[in-house]
Amino acid sequence: MLYKLKVNGKAQEVEAEPGTPLLWVIRDELDLTGTKFGCGVAACGACTVHFQGAPIRSCSFPIDAVGDNEITTIEGLEDKTAKVVQAAWNEKDVVQCGYCQSGQIMSAVGLLKQNPSPSDAEIEAAMQGNVCRCATYVRIKDAIKTAAKNLEA
């Protein structure tokens, strides 16, 4: 079936089986491979993208439910919040294997857009669904706080 999508500000037409998770359309059809497959059951957050600016787990989000809503992937991040978050990630050298980090950053950007100065508990709540097997969590938390501070300035 043919689906019309709006991804990273661009209109896209893709052929996919009904029920296909958005993740696989993004990765296998649109070749936007920055969004990762980690578990397929919305339990790790590696596949996090923005749906109308809010984080969703694309591995468990059927293509049929996207409609003409705006989808943003890591490749499409370009506003100030995103740039500040990515800069904080670099400053703190958060990454290790890096495979989960697109999802971590998508969640962090989503959090800071909705809540520019989150408390520790709010950071935990927003990031609890994003697994990092390298356990870079100390730095993820640190980078989010740094980004929040830099956004304030």
């Binding site: 920055g34 059951v41 697994v131």
Partner: protein, 720 residues
């Protein structure tokens, strides 16, 4: 992928006649300088634009090799860090072998340790040639030439490296390059050198093999036996054919599974799940975890199959006859899955000469050897292109090259022409074996009235990892697989009258090294026993450990200093309700103090103080990151992870049943790196072994509950 483009760029510019200086091993295996004809696979290339590319012979799974090996070269060259580029080495088991293993393989926390002088010498050789070229061109003596931050200068003359590449290549390199002394280091030991892989990994641009797509490629998922060791007896494609993107399904030649081919990953998974396969379970594992635990108990109830130390069990027990304090316990450990973030996958394609793998490849030599055998090729016909790997923790270094063999068989079964991408789901991963083995330790130690050790009697039952593999001759001695007892048989504690028996558990369930391998259980047992002994003898657990180390011995002294560093950093006082553990592994010394809070059996690890001595600290921030990450990896595993079976079938399927450490679980972590000028040693694994027992000892200090059966949830604790 920037480093790929840069490499291609080099080859292109080389072809166009522009000079590229390559430093690497020549045909005779000696460090040499030349064009691509002389040095086929270099360690370092410098082109006329002054771009320096370090070829990374060890894959990057997050442990920091791209940053570490690049630091070694940049240090000797006095290069500009920002301008250093990286590229992953192709498969070449001669030039890119791990000097400790003799094969191209990353593991055992050896990437920096084995490359330390090799990559520095490559950088030093290039530097010497550049200095001599500049000296000749400018008519000044070599000692008037300075290189700082990538700029060659003498008086008012300055140049970048590329300007002398042509001249440098015409000179004869010195036989033995002179490397810097530690006081000359500018980059090594620098507190903060930005990671080379950070930019690509924060923008989604870093390429993993999962991201590879070749024209005409088919996606493959494997339908595997629900019980380990089952063989395909028949299959029914009817339901799979109803899946839109389904292409075909073929049993693998080894009957271990059925390859399902589809037009994309999702359809491959769906068709695989729809496929109906009947299995021959005659050679399969059919036991459940409880039966296996009973078998483990039987093994330690009986005399050990092998004895690993000169003292007999009888002698150890005689030594403990008059002990004032006896500590006896059984410790049980579950199967653990590595669960790297990137599910296993690789792409295989035909080349004019054989096949090429696209893979986050941990052991190119292993892959070449095994796949060549399976496909009837010569090793040199198996190419490997290495990408970033989304974690490994040991899983990708497999002497059976299991997922590469699956991909090769699936490629072959489809005719050997069409590129094939094999993708594992998370369920495939958690249920796919190659686990950290289950084990059972039965230990008894005796102390006299003063709290001095009199004897130690230890029996380990474990499934050996390396028996029956090509590494057997290296790792198995007198029947004992060293990976079952490492850390125990070679403890730095001065233990009088120690006996150690080993019994092998047998199963067709494949087992493998899991971050820190045998230390992942031996350290837990020993450091728990230390804590139990200290409690019984009413001694400070830190003081007891220090008293058991031979501080006249270099290793004993380094361990003692590391213990003192952790003690002082945490401001440890006798009687504190906190946990302590220390361990020596991969030639690195680590000591941990753990603070936990427990409310109604709900545990939170509040803080870990970690001291580490890993020799020269090349990238202190990478070391710190490995301490943080190692501790975090250990935490989830000891707290709540286990792979269990019912009638031979794995119960856990995905992260909801195998809950990894999450952000809210994470303690604050403070790391102190003990200053050292000794040769650098590993940091990827050594934080794992002492973290678990430090937390267990802290839980004991706070609650009085001694945890001997892992994961800790078995004792009724929950974690948040």
């Amino acid at each position: 992928m920037s480093q790929t483009i840069s490499r291609r760029g080099f080859l292109k510019s080389a072809a166009a006649g522009s000079a590229v200086m390559m430093v690497g091993l020549n045909a005779g295996g000696l460090l040499a300088v030349g064009s691509g004809d002389v040095v086929v696979n270099p360690f370092v290339s410098i082109n006329q634009e002054g771009e320096i590319t370090v070829v990374i012979k060890h894959f990057e799974m997050g442990q920091g090799t791209t940053t570490g090996l690049t630091t070694l070269v940049a240090e000797e060259l006095d290069a500009d860090w920002q301008k250093m580029k990286i590229d992953f080495a192709p498969a070449d088991g001669i030039r890119y072998k791990n000097l400790f293993f003799g094969a191209q393989l990353t593991g055992g926390s050896t990437a920096i340790a084995n490359s330390y002088m090799q990559y520095r010498e490559a950088g030093a050789m290039a530097r010497d040639l550049l200095v001599r070229s500049a000296s000749a061109a400018w008519g000044v003596s070599p000692n008037q030439i300075q290189i700082r931050n990538g700029v060659i200068s003498a008086g008012n003359k300055t140049a970048h490296f590329g300007e002398f590449v042509k001249e440098a290549m015409a000179l004869k390199p010195i036989d033995k390059p002179i490397t810097k002394t530690p006081d000359q280091f500018n980059l090594i030991g620098k507190l903060k050198l930005p990671r080379k892989d950070s930019q690509a990994k924060t923008t989604g641009q870093a390429m993993f093999s999962m991201d590879v797509k070749l024209p005409g490629m088919l996606y493959v998922a494997i339908h595997r036996s629900p019980k380990f060791g089952g063989k395909v007896s028949s299959l029914n494609l009817d339901d799979a054919k109803k899946i839109g993107g389904f292409v075909d399904a073929k049993p693998l030649a080894n009957k271990a599974g059925v390859a399902v081919y589809a037009k994309n990953t999702w359809e491959a998974f769906k068709a695989r799940d729809a496929l109906k396969v009947s299995w021959d379970f005659s050679g399969a594992e059919t036991r459940g975890t409880e039966e296996m635990r009973a078998e483990y108990t039987r093994l330690v109830d009986e005399p050990a199959m092998f004895n690993g130390l000169p003292t007999t069990k009888e002698a150890a027990n005689i030594a403990m006859q008059d002990a004032e304090h006896l500590v006896e316990a059984d410790f049980q450990f579950p199967f653990l899955s590595h669960a790297p973030m990137e599910p296993l996958n690789c792409v295989i394609e035909k080349t004019p000469n054989g096949v090429r793998f696209h893979d986050g490849c941990q052991g190119p030599s292993l892959v070449q050897g095994v796949v060549a055998y399976v496909l009837g090729l010569e090793q040199a016909q198996v190419e490997v292109k290495t990408y970033y790997a989304g974690g490994s923790f040991g899983r990708r270094a497999n002497v059976n090259a299991d997922y590469h063999v699956e991909a090769a068989l699936a490629f072959q079964a489809y005719g050997g022409q069409t590129p094939v991408k094999l993708v594992w789901s998370r369920e495939d991963d958690i249920r796919g074996g190659y686990y950290r083995p289950m084990s059972l330790h039965r230990a008894k130690i005796g102390l006299d009235a003063k709290g001095q050790l009199l004897g130690w009697d230890h029996h380990v039952a474990a499934q050996p990892i390396m028996k029956g593999t090509p590494f057997e001759a290296m790792v198995v001695h007198n029947g004992i697989d060293h990976t079952s007892v490492e850390g125990l048989s070679d403890t730095l504690y001065q233990v009088p009258n120690m006996s150690m028996g080993v019994s092998d558990f047998k199963s067709v369930i494949p087992v493998l090294w899991w971050r820190s391998v045998g230390h992942s259980h031996t350290a837990f047992v020993m450091e728990s026993l230390m804590d139990m002994a200290a409690a019984k003898a009413k001694r400070d657990p830190v003081a007891l450990r220090l008293s058991l180390l031979d501080q006249a011995d270099a290793k004993g002294q380094r361990m003692a200093n590391t213990i003192k560093a952790a003690r002082d950093m945490a401001n440890w006082k006798e009687g504190d309700k906190r946990g302590f553990a220390s361990h020596f592994s991969f030639n690195t010394y680590v000591a941990v103090v753990a603070d936990v809070s427990v409310k109604a059996k709900q545990v939170h690890v509040d803080k870990l103080y970690i001291a580490v001595d890993c020799g020269v600290a090349i990238n202190p921030d990478v070391i710190k990151a490995q301490m943080e990450g190692g501790a975090g990896y250990a935490l989830g595993a000891i707290a709540r992870n286990e792979v269990t079976l019912d009638k031979g079938e794995v119960i856990e399927a995905n992260f909801p049943q195998y809950q990894p450490t999450r952000l809210g679980d994470m303690p604050e972590i403070e790391v102190e790196i003990v200053r050292s000028n000794e040769a650098p040693t590993g940091v990827g694994e050594p934080a794992v072994p002492p973290t678990g027992p430090a937390i267990a000892n802290a839980i004991y200090a706070v609650t009085g509950v001694r945890i001997t059966d892992l994961p800790m949830t078995k004792a009724g604790f929950t974690f948040s």
